[in-house]
C-alpha cells in the first residue's frame, strides 16, 4: 500500500480528483474491490455487491452527481432494494427487500456506489460485532494481515463494527451505521474513525430495521469530520415516510477549516469520571479539556445526576421495544420458517431457530417487563427515569438556567477502554458487555441529542482512543464545529495497514 493511498484520502479531495479526472470512478471502484478483498479476513462485509453491477452503474453515472460514484458501505440492517438484508440473523438470512431505506436511496440518488452490506451484532443487539451469523468482525488495528491469528485480535466494537472497519481500512469512504445506545460511536472509537449519531428525527429511519424505535438513529462513519459533514448534509431532513422526522427544513452544516471555539462553553460531566474508565482515556479527556480551554473556550464541570440509572433504564426500555419489534418475525410473510407442527408450534420453532440467544433473551425480558402486572414496576418506571435523564441533559444545555449550565457541548469519553481483545471479550455475556461499553453513549439516545466520537490519539498498545462530544437537539452545527476543532488539535493519523 502506497503512502498516497487514494482510498484513505478525505472524500472531499477525492471528489476533486474525480472532477479533475485525475482518477476515474471505474478505477476507484476497482481499487475499492481490491481493498475489500485484501481485508476479507476482517469479516467486515456480510455481502458485497457484484462488481459488474456496480461498474455498470458507474458508467451510466454522468459525473455531474454530488457523489460521483464514491464507494460507500451500509450496515446490514438498512433495507436495500434487491440486495439481501440479513441483520446478521438466521431469521433474515434469505431476505431481500423490495425497497431501499430513505438514507440509502438518498446516497445512491446522489451518485454514491453501494459496495456492500456490513457486519453487525444480530439485529444490532450488541457492542462487539461478534454475535453475527457470519462470525465476528476483526479490528484492523494491531491485526497481522499476513499471519492472522484465529484468537489473538481486537474486536471492532459494535454493533456497527463492519461499517467502522470498512471505513478504517479504506474499503469505503464512508458508511452508514445505526446508533441506538452507542452502536456507531463505540466501533468508531475502537477503529479510530469519526462516528456521528445525529439528533433523533434529523435522519429518516424508514427502511432501518427497528431495534428501539424511540432511540434508533442512522449514523455516519467516516475518516474525518469534514466527510461526516458532507454526508450529513445529504441525508438530513424530513421524510414523509417517517413521522418522527423533523418537520420543516434542516439547515446545512458549514464548518470552517480552522474553526474557533472561543464562544463555546464546554461541559465536563463529572459523573462520567467513573472508576472503570482507563487512566489513558482519563488522561486524554483532560488533555482535550485543556486544549478547548487554551483556545478560549470556557470549560465547566457539569452534573448529570441520573447517569448512573441510565444503563438499567436503557435495558428495560430496549427489551420492551425489542419484544414488540421482533413480534413480526413469525415465519409467515418472510424470514425463516420452520417446518411442520401446529401454528403456535411453528411460530415457536421458527423464532427459536431464527434468533440467537441474546435476541431471545431480550425478547423474553421485554415481554416480562410489559406484562400487565409488571408494566408499572419496570416499563413505566424506566420511562420516568428516561425523562429524568432527558431533563438532566436538557438543563445542561439550557442557556437560560442557573449555575454550571448553558453549555454548548459536552466533552466525555466514548467508553471505558480501548478495544478489548476478542479472547477476553468473548468470555463475557452479551448483556454484561453492553453494560460495560454503552455506559457513556446511551444517554444521548435517551435524550435524542446529537453526539460524535472523534479519534484523538493512540494508547500505549497503539490502539485508538476517541472522545465524545454531545450537543443539544438539532445543534449539529456546533457539535461538528467542536469536533472539527478537536480533530485539528489532535492530529490523529490514520495508519498504513500492512495488507
Amino acid at each position: 500500500m502506497s503512502s498516497t493511498d487514494i482510498l484513505m484520502k478525505p472524500l472531499v479531495s477525492v471528489l476533486q480528483m474525480l472532477r479533475n479526472r485525475v482518477i476515474s470512478t471505474e478505477e476507484l471502484l476497482h481499487r475499492t474491490y481490491t481493498r475489500i478483498n485484501e481485508t476479507k479476513s476482517l469479516n467486515a462485509f456480510v455481502s458485497v455487491v457484484e462488481k459488474n453491477d456496480n461498474l455498470e452503474f458507474c458508467i451510466k453515472d454522468d459525473r455531474s452527481s454530488i457523489l460521483k460514484g464514491i464507494p460507500f458501505a451500509v450496515k446490514d440492517n438498512f433495507s436495500t432494494r434487491n440486495i439481501s438484508t440479513t441483520c446478521a440473523s438466521n431469521m433474515l438470512r434469505n431476505y431481500v427487500p423490495t425497497y431501499s431505506a430513505t438514507v440509502v436511496k438518498k446516497l445512491t440518488d446522489a451518485g454514491g456506489t453501494l459496495m456492500g452490506k456490513t457486519n453487525l451484532d444480530e439485529f444490532a443487539m450488541g457492542v462487539g460485532t461478534v454475535d453475527s451469523i457470519i462470525g465476528p468482525t476483526r479490528n484492523p488495528w494491531q491485526y497481522d494481515f499476513q499471519h492472522p491469528n484465529p484468537d489473538d485480535w481486537y474486536i471492532a466494537g459494535g454493533s456497527s463494527g463492519g461499517s467502522a472497519v470498512a471505513v478504517a481500512t479504506g474499503a469505503s469512504y464512508f458508511a452508514l451505521g445505526s446508533d441506538t445506545g452507542g452502536s456507531v460511536r463505540l466501533p468508531a472509537s475502537f477503529c479510530g474513525v469519526v462516528g456521528l449519531k445525529p439528533t433523533y428525527g434529523s435522519l429518516s429511519r424508514h427502511g432501518l430495521i427497528s431495534l428501539v424505535n424511540s432511540m434508533d438513529v442512522p449514523g455516519i462513519l467516516a475518516r474525518c469530520v469534514d466527510d461526516v459533514v458532507f454526508i450529513y448534509n445529504i441525508l438530513s431532513g424530513n421524510d414523509p415516510r417517517d413521522s418522527t422526522t423533523v418537520q420543516g427544513k434542516v439547515e446545512k452544516v458549514v464548518i470552517e477549516e480552522n474553526p474557533s471555539v472561543k464562544d463555546l462553553v464546554v461541559g465536563i460531566p463529572k459523573q462520567y469520571h467513573g472508576p472503570d474508565v482507563s487512566p489513558e482515556i482519563i488522561d486524554c479527556w483532560k488533555w482535550a479539556a485543556d486544549i478547548f480551554s487554551n483556545n478560549g473556550a470556557k470549560v465547566v464541570e457539569v452534573s448529570l445526576p441520573h447517569t448512573q440509572y441510565s444503563i438499567v433504564c436503557y435495558h428495560v426500555l430496549c427489551c420492551g421495544e425489542v419484544a414488540s419489534n421482533m413480534a413480526r418475525y413469525d415465519g409467515l410473510q418472510y424470514g425463516h420458517r420452520s417446518d411442520g407442527g401446529f401454528t403456535e408450534e411453528m411460530y415457536a420453532k421458527s423464532r427459536n431457530e431464527g434468533f440467537n440467544e441474546s435476541v431471545r433473551g431480550r425478547i423474553t425480558a421485554g415481554n416480562y417487563f410489559l406484562l400487565r402486572r409488571n408494566y408499572r414496576k419496570y416499563y413505566e418506571k424506566a420511562q420516568k427515569v428516561r425523562r429524568l435523564i432527558q431533563t438532566d441533559i436538557k438543563k445542561v444545555f439550557d442557556k437560560g438556567s442557573g449555575k454550571n449550565s448553558g453549555v454548548d457541548v459536552l466533552l466525555a469519553p466514548v467508553t471505558v477502554s480501548t478495544a478489548p481483545q476478542y479472547k477476553t471479550f468473548a468470555q463475557k455475556t452479551n448483556s454484561y458487555r453492553t453494560v460495560e461499553h454503552d455506559i457513556y453513549t446511551q444517554s444521548a439516545n435517551m435524550a435524542g441529542v446529537p453526539a460524535i466520537s472523534v479519534p484523538v490519539r493512540l494508547s500505549q498498545a497503539k490502539l485508538p482512543i476517541s472522545l465524545q462530544l454531545l450537543a443539544s437537539n438539532f445543534n449539529e452545527g456546533t457539535l461538528l464545529r467542536a469536533a472539527k476543532f478537536l480533530e485539528n488539535a489532535s492530529s490523529f493519523q490514520h495508519p498504513k495497514f500492512d495488507f
Binding site: T85, Y99, S210, S243, Y334, E344
Partner: protein, 546 residues
C-alpha cells in the same frame, strides 16, 4: 406494493388456529325448554355493553397508502407496511382521523386535542406485525352519549359512549378443510373506529335499537360504509346477568357479530344461557365466546380461554396525534393541513333523530314512516314532493315513494335517488294528476315507469299518450246513466242484485262492476273508474229509492 415473492398469494400452513367450538358446553346449557327460562327471566336483570368495530370509509388504509376496497383479488391491496416488512413505519391517514372526529362529534363526545397510539400484542396469523396499533390509553374521543328510540319509537333511551378509538383492522384467515389456512391481508391495516358503550343496555331489543341508530348516524355522516355482510360494522357484546341493578354479574364477551338479527339472537341466547347456568346452581365463567351462525348458539373460544396479556406499550413510531379548534388553528402556519374540530362540527349534516322529528312534526308521518325515509336518505325527496304539491296527502306520497320509487331503486340496485330519473318535481306532478282524478292509479304507475324509461315529464307522457281520463262529474254521470239504461234493456238481471242498504255486498259490487265495464267499453277505457264507481253507486241508489 409487495411483490408476490414475500406475500404468498395463497398461503398454506398446517395447523388449526381459531376457535374450535366446545360442543360439550353447548349441549349442557342449550336452552331447549324456553318456557321455563322465560318464567324466571323477570328475576334477572341483564346488562349489555357493546363494542362496535366500524370500518372507516376511507380511500386508503389507516397507516399506509394501500387501497381500502372490498372484493379485490387476495393480497392485492397490501403495502410493505401492511405486510409488516421490516423497516416500514406507520404514517397516519388524516382522512381517517377526520372521520373519527366527525363520529365523535355526532356521538356527543369530547374530542381529545391530543391522542396517542399504543401497541396491543398478540400472535395471530392474520395480524402480521404481531401487534395491533390502537388507542388504548388516550383515545381520540371520550365521554359521549347517544339518544336512541326503541324499536317502535315510543320511548327514547340514552347510552353513554365511553370512547372512540382509532385502530387497525386485521387481515382475514380462511380455515379450509384439510388443515390448511389461507391468509388474505387486503383488510389488514384498514382503519377501524372502535366505539365502546357503557354497560347500560338491558335487553336485546334495546341493544339492536341503539345499534340501528348508531348505524344510521355513521351512514348519514359518511364515516362508515356499513356493509354488514362485508364485516364493516361488527359488534362485540359483553353480557351479564344480576339480581340487583347495582351489582353486575360476571360478564361474557361474544365477539364479532354482524347483522342486527344475529346480534339480537346472540344477546337473547346468552342471557338465557346464563340464567339457566345460575338457576341450575352453576357459575357463569368469564370468557370469550363466538356466535355460531349455523346453530344460533354461542360457543366458547377455547384457544382464548387463557387470559391474554396484551403487553400494551405506546407506539413509538407515531408522534402524538393533534387536532385543533378555531382558536388554536390560527396560530398555525398552514391551518388547512390540520383537522379543525369546530370546522368539522359545522360541516356535520342533520342527524337522523332531527330528520325524523321534522318529518313527524311537519308532515304528521308516523315514527316508522319517518324512520323508513330517514334510513334511506329519502327525506329530502319526500319534502320536495310535498313542497311542490301542498295539498297531497303525506301518507299517499310516502306510500308512493316506498312502493314505487324505492322499489324501483332496489330492483335496479340504484344507490341514490339521483340515479332514478323521476325527480321530486316530476313525482309531485304525477301525484297531482292522480289526486285530481285525471288519471287513475294504474295509469299513474304506467306513467311512472314510462317516465323512468323516457325521462319525460309525466304531464307530457299523459298528454302524448292521451291517457287523461274522463273524470268530470257531468260527463261521467251521463256516461253511467247511458250504461245503466243499456243494461236495463239488454240484461236486466245484471243490476237486480244491487242492494242500496248493502252497497258492499258481493251482489252489489257485481252490479257496479257491470256498469263500469260497460262504461269502459263505451269510452275506449278512458273513464276514470274511481269516479265512475262513485257516480254509479249514487245513480243505482237513486234508482232504488225512487
Amino acid at each position: 406494493m409487495v411483490p408476490s415473492l414475500f406475500m404468498m398469494q395463497r398461503f398454506l400452513f398446517p395447523g388449526a388456529i381459531g376457535c374450535k367450538p366446545s360442543f360439550i358446553l353447548v349441549k349442557r346449557y342449550n336452552c331447549s325448554s324456553q318456557k321455563n327460562a322465560r318464567l324466571q327471566d323477570d328475576r334477572w336483570i341483564p346488562t349489555v355493553g357493546l363494542e362496535i368495530h366500524a370500518q372507516i370509509n376511507s380511500k386508503s388504509k389507516l397507516f399506509s397508502s394501500a387501497k381500502n376496497q372490498f372484493m379485490a383479488p387476495p393480497n392485492s391491496l397490501v403495502s410493505n407496511f401492511d405486510a409488516s416488512i421490516p423497516g416500514t413505519l406507520p404514517v397516519i391517514n388524516k382522512e381517517c382521523v377526520r372521520k373519527a372526529v366527525r363520529t365523535g362529534l355526532a356521538l356527543n363526545c369530547k374530542i381529545q386535542k391530543t391522542s396517542f397510539f399504543d401497541r396491543k400484542h398478540y400472535f395471530y396469523s392474520d395480524m402480521p406485525q404481531g401487534y395491533q396499533i390502537t388507542q388504548y390509553k388516550h383515545p381520540i374521543a371520550k365521554n359521549g352519549y347517544l339518544h336512541y328510540p326503541t324499536a317502535d319509537g315510543s320511548v327514547v333511551k340514552r347510552v353513554k359512549i365511553e370512547q372512540i378509538q382509532l385502530e387497525q383492522d386485521s387481515g382475514k384467515s380462511m380455515h379450509e378443510e384439510g388443515q390448511v389456512t389461507l391468509i388474505d391481508l387486503n383488510r389488514a391495516g384498514v382503519g377501524l373506529m372502535e366505539i365502546v358503550t357503557a354497560p347500560e343496555v338491558s335487553s336485546a331489543g334495546d341493544a339492536c335499537a341503539f345499534l340501528k341508530e348508531l348505524y344510521g348516524i355513521l351512514m348519514r355522516i359518511g364515516t362508515c360504509n356499513g356493509k354488514l355482510a362485508e364485516g364493516q360494522f361488527r359488534v362485540d357484546a359483553n353480557i351479564s346477568i344480576a339480581q340487583q341493578k347495582t351489582k353486575l354479574g360476571t360478564r361474557v364477551e361474544v365477539k364479532n357479530i354482524s347483522g342486527f338479527k344475529h346480534i339480537h339472537n346472540v344477546i337473547e341466547y346468552e342471557i338465557k344461557r346464563q340464567i339457566r347456568i345460575v338457576e341450575e346452581g352453576g357459575i357463569v365463567e368469564s370468557e370469550t365466546r363466538a356466535f355460531d351462525y349455523e346453530t344460533g348458539f354461542t360457543v366458547s373460544m377455547r384457544d382464548k380461554e387463557i387470559k391474554q396479556d396484551y403487553r400494551f406499550m405506546s407506539e413509538p413510531n407515531l408522534p402524538p396525534l393533534h387536532v385543533y379548534d378555531d382558536s388554536s388553528v390560527t396560530s398555525l402556519s398552514n391551518p388547512s393541513s390540520v383537522i379543525n374540530v369546530d370546522q368539522e362540527r359545522r360541516n356535520l349534516p342533520k342527524l337522523p333523530a332531527d330528520i325524523r322529528g321534522h318529518l313527524i312534526e311537519s308532515f304528521h308521518l308516523s315514527f316508522v314512516e319517518a324512520e323508513f325515509l330517514t334510513n334511506r336518505n329519502m327525506e329530502n325527496y319526500f319534502i320536495e314532493v310535498m313542497e311542490c304539491a301542498h295539498n297531497l296527502n303525506p301518507t299517499v306520497v310516502w306510500n308512493w315513494i316506498k312502493m314505487h320509487v324505492i322499489a324501483h331503486m332496489v330492483e335496479y340496485n340504484l344507490s341514490s335517488i339521483e340515479e332514478c330519473y323521476v325527480s321530486a318535481r316530476d313525482l309531485a306532478a304525477l301525484l297531482l294528476l292522480l289526486h285530481n282524478n285525471e288519471i287513475n292509479a294504474e295509469t299513474a304507475y304506467l306513467t311512472f315507469t314510462t317516465a323512468i324509461q323516457t325521462r319525460q315529464h309525466p304531464d307530457k307522457i299523459v298528454e302524448e299518450n292521451n291517457w287523461k281520463m274522463i273524470s268530470d262529474k257531468e260527463t261521467v254521470t251521463k256516461l253511467c246513466e247511458d250504461a245503466i239504461a243499456t243494461l236495463q234493456c239488454t240484461d236486466a238481471k245484471a243490476l237486480s242484485g244491487y242492494d242500496a242498504d248493502k252497497p258492499k255486498s258481493k251482489a252489489s259490487k257485481q252490479a257496479i262492476k257491470r256498469v263500469i265495464m260497460l262504461v269502459r267499453k263505451n269510452t275506449n277505457d278512458k273513464i276514470h273508474t274511481g269516479v265512475a264507481k262513485d257516480v254509479t253507486m249514487k245513480l243505482l241508489n237513486y234508482k232504488r229509492t225512487s
